[in-house]
C-alpha cells in the first residue's frame, strides 16, 4: 500500500501529527500495534494540560508546552473534547520550596506563560479547602487545564480520518524499508508492507528502538513507570483543580487532581525500568503515591479508590524531547521522548512537524493545502451531561439512547453502538470512547452487556471478543464444552 507519509504510533503525538498533516493533500497511514486508542502513555497519564512554567527556557519542551496549551484551549471546541479549565497550583511546604516557586514564576514568565502568580497558602486553601494546612504558598497557573485524554486522542484521530487519514490498529511495525539509495521507502509490519517516502517515528517507549533501525542511536528511551490511584466520582469537588508537589530532579512528584470527569486521582511515581511494556502497579509505588497524596491532601479518601493503574512514559537521558529529521536515511523523522508535558505539547509539535516537512523534506513530500479540510468533529453524545430535553430528544430519535449499558457512568446503548460505528472492536475501546466501565463497579455490570453488543454488532461469537486485543479474550468457550472434551 502506497502512502505519502506513515506515522508510527497513534498516541497523542502521532494522532496530533496525523490530524495536522490532514490539512494537506496527503495520503496518510497511522499504524499502531494496539487494538484501541489511546494505549501506552497517552492512556495512562495525569491528563494535564500544563501551564508551561516547569520547563527550563531554551529547552525544546518549553517551546511547545506554552504553544500547545493555547492550542488545546481552541481544539477543545473544534474537536468537542472535555477540557476542564481549572488551573493548577504548585504547593510549597517550606521556605526552600517557596523560593523554588519564585524560580518557577520567573521561568514561567520567560516562557511566556500567561497569568502565573504566587499566592499564599491561605489563598490557595480558599480555592482548595482540602489542601494541607502546611502549605505556605502556591504557584497558580490559570491557563493550566485537565483534559479527558481518552476522548482527546480519539478526537484527534477521528478528525484526521474525517480528512482522509487511515488508521491501522493491531499493526506492529517490525522494520524499516529502504530504497536503493538507502533512503526510507516504507515499513514492514505484521500486516504486510506500507510504503511511503516519509516515516514519522512517534513510537513512544519504542521510539528508541525504531530510530536505531534507521541507524540513529543518538538518544535512548528510558521507560519510566508512573503509578496512579483513581477514585470514585462521588469524590467530585473534593478538590477542583490540580495540585502539584514542588518539582525536584526526580520529576514533578506526586500530584492530586480532579479529572475532567470529576474523579479524584493521585500519582504518578517515576520509576525507571527496562521493560517498556510493564504497566503493572507495585506495592512500593502505590505506597509512595498514597504518601505523596496525603501530604498534599491529608484527608485523601483512599477508601473510595476504584482502580490503580500505571503508565510507562518515554523518558530520555537529556530529559528533553528528541525531534529531528535524519539526514541519512532521508525521509525519517523522530518525534521521540515525548514525556510530560507531551500531551500538552502534542498539537504544537504537530504544527512544527508540518513545518519541518515543508522545509527539510520538500524533495520527498509536498504539502499542498487541502481546501476541503474540516476542522470540526462531534463527540459521541454524552448522555450523562445532557439536559433532560436533550436526552428526551435523543431517545425519541434513537431508542438505543433510552437503554442504559453502564450504570455508573450513565452510558447508553446508543453511545456504545456509535463507538462501534466509529471503529471500537474491544471492550476497552468502548470504554475509551464512551467511558462505559470507568465507574465504580469497573465493568462488573456493563462488561457482559458490552461483550454482548460487540458480538451482536460485529457478528462474531461472544468468546472471540477481547478485553484489549491480542490474547485478552474474556471468555474461553461455551459451558459444557470442557466436560465434553474431558
Amino acid at each position: 500500500m502506497n502512502y505519502d507519509v506513515i506515522i508510527i504510533g497513534s498516541g497523542v503525538t502521532g494522532s496530533a501529527i496525523a490530524r495536522e498533516l490532514s490539512r494537506y493533500k496527503l495520503k496518510i497511514a497511522v499504524l499502531d500495534k494496539a487494538s484501541e486508542l489511546p494505549s501506552g502513555a497517552s492512556r495512562a497519564n495525569s491528563s494535564m494540560i500544563h501551564g508551561g512554567f516547569d520547563d527550563e527556557p531554551g529547552t525544546v519542551k518549553s517551546k511547545f508546552c506554552v504553544a500547545g496549551n493555547k492550542l488545546w484551549h481552541k481544539l477543545k471546541d473544534e474537536l468537542d473534547v472535555h477540557l476542564d479549565e481549572c488551573g493548577s497550583y504548585v504547593c510549597a511546604f517550606n521556605d526552600k520550596e517557596a523560593k523554588h516557586l519564585e524560580e518557577l514564576l520567573a521561568q514561567g514568565k520567560a516562557n511566556g506563560v500567561p497569568g502565573v502568580e504566587i499566592i499564599s497558602g491561605d489563598k490557595l486553601r480558599e480555592k482548595e479547602p482540602k489542601a494541607s494546612v502546611e502549605i505556605i504558598a502556591g504557584l497558580y497557573a490559570p491557563e493550566a487545564a485537565i483534559i479527558n485524554n481518552f476522548e482527546a486522542v480519539n478526537a484527534l484521530i477521528e478528525s484526521a480520518k474525517i480528512n482522509g487519514a487511515e488508521l491501522f490498529l493491531e499493526t506492529l511495525v517490525t522494520g524499516l524499508l529502504f530504497d536503493d539509495e538507502k533512503n526510507i521507502r516504507g515499513v514492514s509490519t505484521n500486516k504486510g508492507e506500507f510504503l511511503a517516502p516519509v516515516v514519522i517515528n512517534a513510537g513512544g517507549v519504542h521510539a528508541g528502538e525504531i530510530a536505531s533501525w534507521a541507524g540513529d542511536t543518538s538518544f535512548k528511551i528510558i521507560p519510566t513507570k508512573g503509578e496512579y490511584f483513581l477514585l470514585d466520582r462521588t469524590t467530585q469537588g473534593f478538590i477542583h483543580s490540580f495540585l502539584f508537589s514542588c518539582p525536584s530532579k526526580a520529576g514533578k512528584g506526586v500530584t492530586v487532581l480532579q479529572t475532567a470527569e470529576g474523579n479524584l486521582m493521585a500519582g504518578p511515581t517515576a520509576t525507571e525500568q527496562e521493560d517498556p511494556e510493564d504497566r503493572s502497579t507495585t506495592p512500593e509505588g502505590l505506597a509512595e503515591v498514597l504518601k505523596g497524596a496525603r501530604r498534599l491532601v491529608p484527608d485523601f479518601p483512599i477508601n473510595l479508590n476504584i482502580t490503580t493503574f500505571a503508565g510507562v512514559r518515554a523518558n530520555t537521558e537529556s530529559g528533553d524531547f528528541e525531534i529531528s529529521v535524519l539526514k541519512n536515511p532521508r525521509g525519517f523523522v523522530n518525534v521521540a521522548g515525548i514525556k510530560s508535558p507531551g500531551f500538552t505539547s502534542a498539537p504544537a509539535i504537530a504544527e512544527h512537524i508540518a513545518g519541518l516537512l515543508k522545509e527539510e523534506l520538500a524533495d520527498r513530500i509536498k504539502l499542498t493545502p487541502n481546501e476541503k479540510f474540516i476542522p470540526t468533529r462531534k463527540n459521541i453524545p454524552r448522555f450523562l451531561y445532557l439536559n433532560m430535553e436533550e436526552r428526551q430528544e435523543l431517545a425519541k430519535n434513537d431508542p438505543a439512547y433510552a437503554q442504559i449499558v453502564c450504570r455508573c457512568e450513565t452510558v447508553t446503548e446508543g453511545q456504545v453502538l456509535e463507538a462501534i460505528r466509529r471503529g471500537a472492536r474491544t471492550v476497552t475501546a468502548v470504554k475509551m470512547m464512551t467511558r462505559a466501565g470507568t465507574g465504580r463497579c469497573q465493568g462488573g455490570f456493563c462488561c457482559p452487556r458490552v461483550v454482548e453488543i460487540l458480538s451482536r454488532e460485529l457478528n462474531i461469537p461472544l468468546d472471540e471478543i477481547t478485553r484489549h486485543g491480542g490474547e485478552s479474550k474474556l471468555l474461553v468457550g461455551k459451558t459444557k464444552e470442557f466436560l465434553l472434551n474431558k
Binding site: 490511584f229 483513581l230 511494556e277 510493564d278 504497566r279 503493572s280 502497579t281 507495585t282 506495592p283 509505588g285 502505590l286 479508590n305 476504584i306 482502580t307 490503580t308 433532560m388 436526552r391 428526551q392 431517545a395 425519541k396 431508542p399 438505543a400 433510552a402 437503554q403 442504559i404 450504570r407 455508573c408 450513565t410 447508553t412 465504580r440 463497579c441 469497573q442 465493568g443 462488573g444 455490570f445 462488561c447 457482559p448 454482548e452 461472544l462 468468546d463 477481547t466 478485553r467 484489549h468 486485543g469 491480542g470 490474547e471 485478552s472 479474550k473 474474556l474 471468555l475 474461553v476 468457550g477 461455551k478 459451558t479 459444557k480 464444552e481 470442557f482 466436560l483 472434551n485 474431558k486
Partner: protein, 434 residues
C-alpha cells in the same frame, strides 16, 4: 403513555421489590409499579440456579428462579405492574416539611420525581405517592482492595462470572483462583468445577469465612477445593490474559508476611470480596445513608429520612438469606402504600437502636413500636462458643451456639414491650459470650 397516578413506585424487581409490590397491593394501593432495568424480573436470583432458597418461607429447597417465580406469580395475581428494561437515572425530592402539620408534605407537593428511560416509552418523569428503593447490592471490585500488578482479561467479580456462565452460557476461564469467601464466590467455585474447570483454591484475608458455613461445606469441602484463611492475593500477573497470581499469608494487621509468597498459575480470578448496598439513587434522592451499613438509615417501617421514600432488602443491609429480603420488602411495600394513602401517622415514636458489644452493623436504626420488628445484625468478631443476643433494656434475649460475621443474627422486638415502656430512650443490642 399513561398519566395515571402511581401510588407506589418500586425501583428494582429483585426479591425485595417484588415482595414490596405484593405488600403495597395487599395494603390497598391502586397503582403499584415496579421498575426493572434488566430484561426480566427476579434480579440477581435469575442467575442463582443452585438450590437452597426459600427454606424458611416455603420449607423447601428452591433454586433462585423457582423462588422468584412464586413471588412474581403472586405479584401478577395481585395486579402489580412491572416495567422491564426500564432504568431510573434520576430522582428529585422535595425536602419534607417540618413535622407536626398532619402530613409530612403540604397540599399538592409532589414528594418525589423519578426519571426513567425505556426503549419503547422513551424518557419519562413519574410522580408517585411513595417510592420503595429495592436496588439490591453490588460487588466490590478489584480496585477497592488495591492489589498491585497488571490488568489482564480474566478478572471478574463472582457475580459477573455467574451471569456469563448461567445466563449467557459461556465460561470465563479454565483454571480459577477465588479471592474472598463471600457466598457467590463459594457457589461459583462449585459451579466452575461442575463445568469441568479447575479451581485452585479459595483465599480469604480474614481468619473466618465471609459466607455461610453450609456453603463452605457444600461448595468447597464436598469437592476438595482448598480453602486458605488469612491468605490473600498480593500480585496479578499477565499482559493480555491472566497468567497467575501471587498469594501470601497475612498477619493480624492483614499485611502480607514476607517469605510466604507463592505463585499460582491460573487464567481466571474471581472476586468475592464483599457486597455493597447500591445507593447511587438513594444519594440522588438526598436520603441519609448510614456510614457503616452503606444503606439508607431506616426505622422499623423501613421508612428513610425522607418520609415518602422507603427501602428494603440488600439496598439497606446485605442479608444472608433471601427469605429475610422478601420479608422486609413486604413491610416496606405495605408502609409505602399506607403513606401514599395518607394513613401513616407522621407522629411516630423514634427510638434509636444502638450497637453495643460485638455488633458491627445492624438495621433498622430506629424503632417506632407500631408493630413487632426484627433487628438484623452482624457481629464484629466470631464467638465460637455458647453466646447470646440481647436487646436492652430487657427486650430480647436469645441463646446461640456460636456467632459469626458471615451469619446474621436477629433480635426480635415485640411492639407490646415498647408500648409497655413509654420512657424507653434507646435500645442497645449486644452479642456476648455466655
Amino acid at each position: 403513555m399513561t398519566n395515571k397516578k402511581i401510588d407506589v413506585l418500586i425501583i428494582g424487581a429483585g426479591p425485595a421489590g417484588v415482595a414490596a409490590g405484593i405488600g403495597a397491593k395487599k395494603q390497598g394501593a391502586e397503582n403499584v409499579v415496579v421498575l426493572e432495568r434488566d430484561w426480566d424480573l427476579g434480579g440477581i436470583l435469575q442467575q442463582c440456579i443452585h438450590p437452597g432458597f426459600g427454606l424458611r418461607t416455603f420449607r423447601e429447597e428452591l433454586t433462585g428462579p423457582e423462588y422468584m417465580h412464586r413471588f412474581i406469580q403472586e405479584a401478577h395475581e395481585a395486579g402489580v405492574e412491572f416495567r422491564t428494561n426500564t432504568m431510573v437515572f434520576q430522582i428529585e425530592t422535595q425536602p419534607p416539611l417540618s413535622k407536626g402539620r398532619g402530613t409530612a408534605y403540604g397540599g399538592g407537593v409532589v414528594p418525589v420525581k423519578v426519571w426513567t428511560m425505556n426503549k419503547e416509552r422513551g424518557i419519562e418523569c413519574l410522580e408517585p405517592g411513595a417510592i420503595v428503593l429495592t436496588m439490591g447490592c453490588r460487588e466490590r471490585p478489584l480496585g477497592a482492595i488495591r492489589i498491585p500488578g497488571s490488568r489482564p482479561a480474566g478478572i471478574y467479580t463472582a457475580g459477573t462470572a455467574q451471569r456469563f456462565v448461567n445466563m449467557e452460557g459461556y465460561m470465563p476461564g479454565k483454571k480459577a483462583v477465588i479471592l474472598g469467601s463471600g457466598d457467590i464466590g463459594l457457589i461459583m467455585a462449585r459451579r466452575m468445577i461442575w463445568e469441568g474447570a479447575e479451581v485452585e483454591g479459595v483465599y480469604e484475608v480474614m481468619s473466618w469465612p465471609g459466607g455461610l458455613r453450609r456453603n463452605i461445606a457444600q461448595c468447597l469441602d464436598d469437592y476438595g477445593i482448598p480453602f486458605h484463611l488469612q491468605t490473600t492475593v498480593t500480585k496479578i500477573h499477565g499482559q493480555d490474559r491472566l497468567e497467575g497470581v501471587t498469594v501470601a499469608k497475612v498477619d493480624e494487621k492483614m499485611k502480607p508476611i514476607e517469605g510466604t509468597e507463592r505463585f499460582v498459575e491460573c487464567d481466571t480470578l474471581l472476586l468475592a470480596i464483599g457486597l455493597i448496598p447500591e445507593n447511587e439513587l438513594s444519594r440522588m434522592a438526598g436520603i441519609e445513608i448510614h456510614p457503616v451499613t452503606g444503606g439508607p438509615v431506616v426505622n422499623d417501617l423501613l421508612q428513610t429520612s425522607n418520609p415518602a421514600v422507603f427501602a428494603a432488602g440488600n439496598v439497606v443491609i446485605v442479608y444472608d438469606l433471601v427469605d429475610n429480603v422478601s420479608d422486609e420488602g413486604l413491610i416496606a411495600g405495605t408502609n409505602a402504600a399506607k403513606f401514599a394513602a395518607g394513613k401513616l401517622s407522621p407522629e411516630q415514636k423514634r427510638i434509636p437502636v444502638k450497637g453495643g458489644q460485638n455488633v458491627r452493623l445492624f438495621s433498622p436504626q430506629f424503632v417506632t413500636g407500631e408493630s413487632d420488628t426484627i433487628i438484623y445484625m452482624r457481629v464484629t468478631h466470631p464467638i465460637e462458643q455458647a453466646c447470646k443476643v440481647t436487646a436492652e433494656p430487657g427486650l430480647y434475649t436469645q441463646k446461640l451456639r456460636y456467632a459469626r460475621p458471615g451469619e446474621m443474627n436477629e433480635a426480635r422486638i415485640k411492639a407490646s414491650m415498647i408500648k409497655a415502656n413509654p420512657d424507653l430512650k434507646e435500645i442497645v443490642i449486644d452479642v456476648l459470650p455466655l
